[in-house]
């Protein structure tokens, strides 16, 4: 079953094309990662799925239904820029957000009790939001998106600004709602999170889809042109190896892009320095992202002149 269907969606703001002929299918029950550099059209796409913005052309369906009100009641949404009513108590806020989704108070209270225990907010339930720490407020925000037990959860940069402990709590919560059958679509800049958590990943760049598939599918499209090495010697030397077209230095580990036979590369390397680690692999999502989104030399020239 399909949770979200985007069929040739285009959205313009004045002369700027924010999303260009985008088609996408998000399977129900999956964790779907939405990646792309800033300004590539991610948030605009998410807003269109929620019917906050309407596309100029194309068709959007949520669980097979194109109607706006149905979409809104089935979707939990955590926008990237988010805030809470400072004077409201946590309980009143969660009830309000739940009721806006059309849920009866009884069901909302059951959900409140469940989540409040899970994320350790019990003592704060009747305190005003302004009394909470930043981390606590972020967790309340997350719970407010889940409180209506949505069939589809849309999270725009859910991990941005979270400390590792709260990020872990959030990740566990996302995985738990996924186990209950909720489809999750989230956008992120954190490629490691996308690699670890997502069943499928889509990347949009300049309003157009440039990647769509499972991590394996995406990586195999980019082949085994990547070698991770750790050597006991100067890193600069790696650039002069035959067949190496690029070096990405991670400090402890170096990622080489090369063309040719890996065995020949290993022989050449061993001849020069002691090799501590040598692994032929797919490019990481991070590497693929950078390869797509890195500005061309022409763009760099323009921006330095501009």
């Amino acid at each position: 079953m399909t949770a979200i269907l985007l069929d040739h969606i285009t959205k313009r703001f004045g002369s700027h094309v924010a999303v260009n002929d985008l088609s996408l299918r998000v399977p129900a029950g999956s964790v779907f990662g939405f990646i792309g550099p800033n300004g590539s059209g991610k948030t605009t796409t998410l807003r269109m799925i929620l019917h906050i913005l309407l596309p100029d052309s194309g068709r959007i369906e949520v669980f097979g239904d194109p109607r706006t009100d149905i979409a809104r009641s089935k979707i939990g949404y955590l926008p990237e820029e988010r805030g809470l009513y400072k004077k409201m108590s946590v309980r009143r806020l969660l009830r309000y957000y739940g009721q806006l989704k059309g849920k009866p108070l009884k069901e909302i209270d059951v959900e409140i009790n469940r989540w409040i225990d899970q994320i350790g907010l019990g003592a704060w339930l009747d305190k005003p939001i302004e009394a909470l720490s930043k981390g606590m407020a972020q967790k309340v925000q997350f719970v407010s998106a889940l409180i209506s037990k949505p069939e589809l959860l849309i999270l725009d940069e859910p991990f941005s600004g979270l400390d590792p402990v709260n990020a872990e709590v959030l990740k566990d919560a996302i995985l738990e709602v996924r186990r209950q059958g909720t489809t999750i679509l989230f956008s992120t800049h954190d490629m490691a999170v996308a690699e670890r958590m997502c069943d499928r990943i889509c990347m949009i760049f300049r309003g157009q889809k440039v990647l769509d598939g499972t991590l394996d599918e995406i990586q195999s499209d980019y082949g085994t042109d990547t070698v991770r090495v750790k050597v006991d010697g100067p890193v600069d030397m790696l650039r002069s190896l035959p067949g190496v077209t690029g070096v990405n230095d991670h400090g402890q580990l170096q990622e080489l892009r090369f063309t040719g036979n890996p065995q020949a590369l290993l022989s050449a390397l061993v001849a020069r320095v002691p090799v501590l680690h040598f692994e032929v692999s797919h490019p990481s999502l991070h590497d693929i992202f950078v390869r797509i989104a890195r500005p061309t030399s022409e763009e760099l020239r323009e921006s330095s002149h501009g």
């Binding site: 906050i52 955590l78 926008p79 988010r82 805030g83 809470l84 009513y85 957000y97 009721q99 989704k101």
Partner: protein, 431 residues
């Protein structure tokens, strides 16, 4: 509609629970009541002061008459009206005119400064000798207090006129009877009852014909001023603290706006109930309950609804188009100016309700709810066609403003960071 009610309920609870609401709702009666009370306290205190006046009588004849008149005044006998039980008291002190006059005046001035005297007065001899240029000279440090100099002038004048008549061998008693003033009774207009009989005119009662109509208009004005600009703050706060987008994930911008308007209408309804109950109680106490007609309450509620919708939508639209308070201030000024039109023109309408300018301004839709309400409450009501035209124009304006505000909110709520221009807002409406 369910979501609209959810928003309205939450906004209503937030509004009435806020400390400012109770303070705001109490503030008006406290301010009005306090002003009346303060006036009374000040009057009583002012009356309690003994006003000691030094009199330099160059005529040598008038002091004794003044002194008698002061005694009668202090017993509460007024030359201007019925006897009173309390009031200011005047005591006089005769100062013999001798030596250097300027030195005497200076000495008396010092006594006034030292609060030994309240004022002093010079009665020139010329007054009794027919010198047309002779002037009563009154010296005091508190020129705003009129009662004493006015009394002095009346009393001296009366005495001087009596002397003039005596000199002309005319009996003052005859003159008094010849000059006896006539009185005027102000009446309303006659009308015809539905059964055809002539309805008699009633004596004009200023509370009934002006006071209550103006009170109706200002009550409406006050409730609109106290409730609708708050919507701007509420929307702007939601936008600035990034709550708007969370809400837009659940409701349409129009539902959000309707919910807020409904909440504002409910808050106004609560205030109306409180104030009208208070007004009815006060009117009952003073015997004016019958002057608060049910038709006027119905018109009040109708115009309240229209004005809350017009100004509420206007302020919501401004709040959603702005990104910070400074932007909002500059866009709010024109809206406030329009809102102030009735407060600046109501005197024109009460003085000449059927004049072309009063009719025109009461048909200016943003002012119609206030000024047509006032005209409907005045004794001579506006013709039905004017009321009908006013109502139709205002309803049309309300629909256009609500519609335009809906368009502005839809775009404005998602705009962040940049100051918006008026032209740009118009483009959002047309888009």
């Amino acid at each position: 509609m369910g979501r609209v009610f959810t928003i309205a309920r939450s906004e209503f609870i937030t509004a009435v629970r806020a400390r400012g609401f109770l303070i705001g709702i109490m503030l008006m009666p406290i301010l009005f009541g306090g002003a009346v009370l303060l006036q009374r306290v000040v009057d009583r205190q002012a009356n309690g002061i003994l006003r000691h006046v030094a009199v330099i009588d160059d005529t040598g004849e008038l002091y004794s008459r003044l002194s008698e008149a002061a005694a009668a005044w202090n017993r509460g006998e007024r030359d201007t009206g019925p006897k009173v039980t309390d009031g200011p008291r005047f005591t006089l002190e005769q100062v013999t005119p001798a030596g250097d006059r300027d030195a005497l005046r200076l000495a008396l001035s010092e006594r006034v400064r030292g609060q030994d005297l309240y004022a002093f007065v010079e009665i020139p001899a010329g007054l009794l000798q027919g010198d047309g240029r002779a002037t009563l000279m009154y010296y005091s440090g508190a020129p705003a207090y009129r009662e004493l100099p006015d009394w002095l002038q009346r009393t001296v004048l009366k005495e001087v006129v009596t002397r003039r008549f005596e000199n002309a061998k005319v009996s003052p008693l005859v003159v008094a009877s010849l000059l006896k003033p006539i009185s005027t009774e102000e009446m309303g207009l006659l009308g015809r009852d539905p059964d055809g009989s002539v309805r008699a005119a009633r004596p004009t009662d200023r509370v009934r014909v002006i006071g209550i109509p103006v009170a109706f208009m200002f009550l409406l004005f006050l409730i609109v001023v106290m409730t609708t600009p708050q919507l701007l703050n509420a929307v702007l706060e939601e936008k600035m603290s990034r709550i708007s987008e969370v809400l837009l994930g659940s409701v349409t911008p129009f539902e959000l706006m309707l919910g807020k308007l409904l909440a504002s209408t409910s808050v106004s309804a609560v205030m109306t109930l409180v104030y009208l109950t208070g007004a009815a109680w006060t009117a009952h106490r003073w015997g004016y309950l019958d002057a608060i007609e049910p038709r006027m309450i119905a018109w009040f509620v109708f115009f309240l609804l229209l004005s809350v919708l017009i100004y509420g939508s206007m302020f919501i639209a401004i709040g959603s188009a702005c990104s910070d308070l400074r932007d909002a201030q500059s866009l709010m000024t024109p809206a406030m100016m329009i809102l102030l039109v009735p407060a600046l023109t109501w005197t024109l309408v009460t003085r000449a309700p059927h004049s072309a300018s009063a009719v025109a301004i009461s048909l200016f839709p943003p002012a119609t709810p206030f000024l047509m309400l006032l005209r409907l409450a005045l004794p001579e009501r506006p013709p039905a066609w004017q009321v009908g035209l006013g109502v139709v124009l205002t309803i049309l304006t309300m629909l256009i403003i609500v519609w335009a505000a809906g368009r502005i909110v839809r775009v404005g709520l998602l705009m962040q960071g940049k100051a918006v221009r008026f032209g740009e807002i118009l483009r959002w409406v047309r888009a």
